[in-house]
């Protein structure tokens, strides 16, 4: 077997994953903290004010990274769901379930920061604009996944049902991303390009990228922590989990 595959496979066993998570949780949390602190410091205090929007544009450092994360986490959740359904890997069910509330949280932050930003720039908190609407719908999708998972008495059955929904819901992600092009709307189009030239000034860009990286690490941190708890809950009958609980006491 290919060594990468073998590593992945061994990680799939609950006790191994538990140890892996325990090892990496502090590091990811630390990275998130440091990167976030630097990025936010430069973004909020050092970057020049926008010539059009003034100081209110600084909300971008919260809004855009969480907007990216809200989409990214959904896609990731769907991938975990697909793996869970096809290969019946229990760990992926758990990762999926662990990712959902974090994604919902980022979606909520996007919506709230967007609304706060909308008031000074567009003069209204809410507008039935394409991107806002579809982001709201993304929040509903997250709620649907969470609600469906909780509606089943059995944890694993709930996870499988939620996985189907997560997969089916993936169609919404491109819609949210491209909505600014498909509809003529208030919300602005893409200004950060990975390939090609960004339309945003470098002194504004690099703190943004730092915060974005921090949000990724924060996600990893929260994901590992939640997954660890879920894993213990699901495996509470198994011997390794019992030993661990005894050892902790």
């Amino acid at each position: 077997m290919n060594p990468l595959l073998r590593w992945f496979h061994s990680l799939g066993s609950p006790p191994t994953f538990y140890r892996f998570a325990t090892r990496w949780i502090p590091w990811t949390g630390f990275a998130a903290l440091v990167l976030g602190a630097i990025g936010l410091y430069f973004g909020l205090f050092r970057a020049p004010a926008d010539y059009l929007q003034g100081e209110s544009f600084r909300i971008i450092y919260l809004h855009v990274p969480s907007a990216w994360m809200s989409l990214f986490i959904y896609v990731l959740m769907a991938i975990y769901g697909a793996i869970a359904l096809i290969w019946r890997i229990k760990l992926c069910e758990i990762l999926m379930m662990a990712a959902a509330p974090i994604g919902a949280m980022f979606t909520a932050v996007t919506l709230i920061t967007g609304m706060l930003w909308g008031k000074p720039t567009w003069g209204t908190y809410w507008e039935w604009d394409a991107r806002m609407t579809s982001e709201l719908v993304l929040l509903f999708l997250y709620f649907g996944v969470l609600g469906l998972a909780n509606a089943y008495d059995d944890l694993r059955q709930g996870a499988r049902a939620a996985a189907v929904l997560a997969l089916v819901g993936v169609v919404n992600v491109p819609i949210i991303h491209f909505s600014v092009q498909w509809w003529n709307t208030l919300h602005q189009g893409e200004s950060v390009q990975i390939i090609g030239k960004s339309t945003i000034h470098a002194s504004m860009l690099w703190p943004l990228l730092l915060v974005a990286a921090a949000s990724k690490f924060y996600f990893l941190f929260a994901l590992l922590q939640r997954a660890r708890t879920l894993l213990l809950e699901q495996e509470r009958g198994k011997s390794w989990a019992r030993e661990l609980a005894l050892g902790a006491r």
Binding site: F140, G144, L165, V168, N172, I175
Partner: protein, 227 residues
């Protein structure tokens, strides 16, 4: 071959049942007419305004009426033990799910499609918009039915599926609504509806291929609760 005969058998069964319950089956349709009628009455004064909003109102109404019909997808088969009977025999569930969706569309989708000109008339929609409205509604309801298939399969066994069904269906409807009513908007604005319709068609095709598989996988979840 046996899958095909099973699917067509289920199709005929569901159509027969729908015929026996024709009055219940027409309820979503009645609902659609009702909504439009009430809107026409309340907004009736200003005819130009009404006709400008006619297409989106019709699209929303049709999707909502379709949503109301989803309750019927698996509820009865789950309650009277038929679903368990299928799961405990060697039938090909995704073929059956395809048959169920087809039957459902022929009953509910088609009747809504046929009612669309009436709805358009009630809201004094510009007649030139009718063709694109009909085409988009035909595709849209077919796609919506597939969404309903999956959502109903996911909630068929749940004691408390009600609000979940709404929560699941609504986000998935949105893309259909965007491109569907977008197509009509485009024509209304003098543009070509081609790209919107193509995107709608792509979505519907994708849904039609994937939904029966997803539904089949979902129906087994929760079978430990007898009806």
């Amino acid at each position: 071959m046996s899958d095909f005969s099973a699917t067509s058998s289920l199709l005929f069964r569901d159509l027969t049942l729908a015929w026996h319950r024709r009055s219940d089956v027409l309820q979503p349709l009645a609902f659609a007419v009702l909504v439009v009628l009430l809107f026409a009455i309340t907004l009736g004064g200003d005819r130009a305004r009404l006709s400008a909003m006619a297409a989106p109102i019709i699209w929303v109404t049709v999707l909502l009426a379709n949503f109301l019909s989803f309750d019927q997808f698996f509820r009865e088969d789950a309650a009277d033990g038929t679903l368990d009977q299928w799961l405990s025999s060697a039938v090909h569930m995704s073929a059956l799910c395809f048959g169920k969706a087809l039957a459902h569309w022929l009953v509910y989708g088609l009747s809504l499609l046929l009612a669309t000109p009436v709805l358009a008339m009630l809201l004094s929609l510009d007649v030139s918009l009718l063709p694109v409205l009909l085409v988009s509604i035909a595709m849209g309801t077919f796609g919506a039915t597939q969404i309903g298939l999956v959502a109903s399969a996911l909630t068929a066994r749940l004691r408390r599926g009600g609000i979940l069904l709404a929560l699941i269906v609504l986000p998935l409807f949105l893309p259909l609504l965007i491109f569907g009513s977008g197509a009509v908007d485009a024509v209304q604005a003098g543009l070509s509806a081609r790209s919107a319709l193509l995107l709608l068609a792509a979505q519907t095709t994708l849904l039609t291929t994937l939904a029966p598989l997803a539904a089949a996988a979902s129906l087994r979840i929760g079978s430990d609760q007898p009806p």
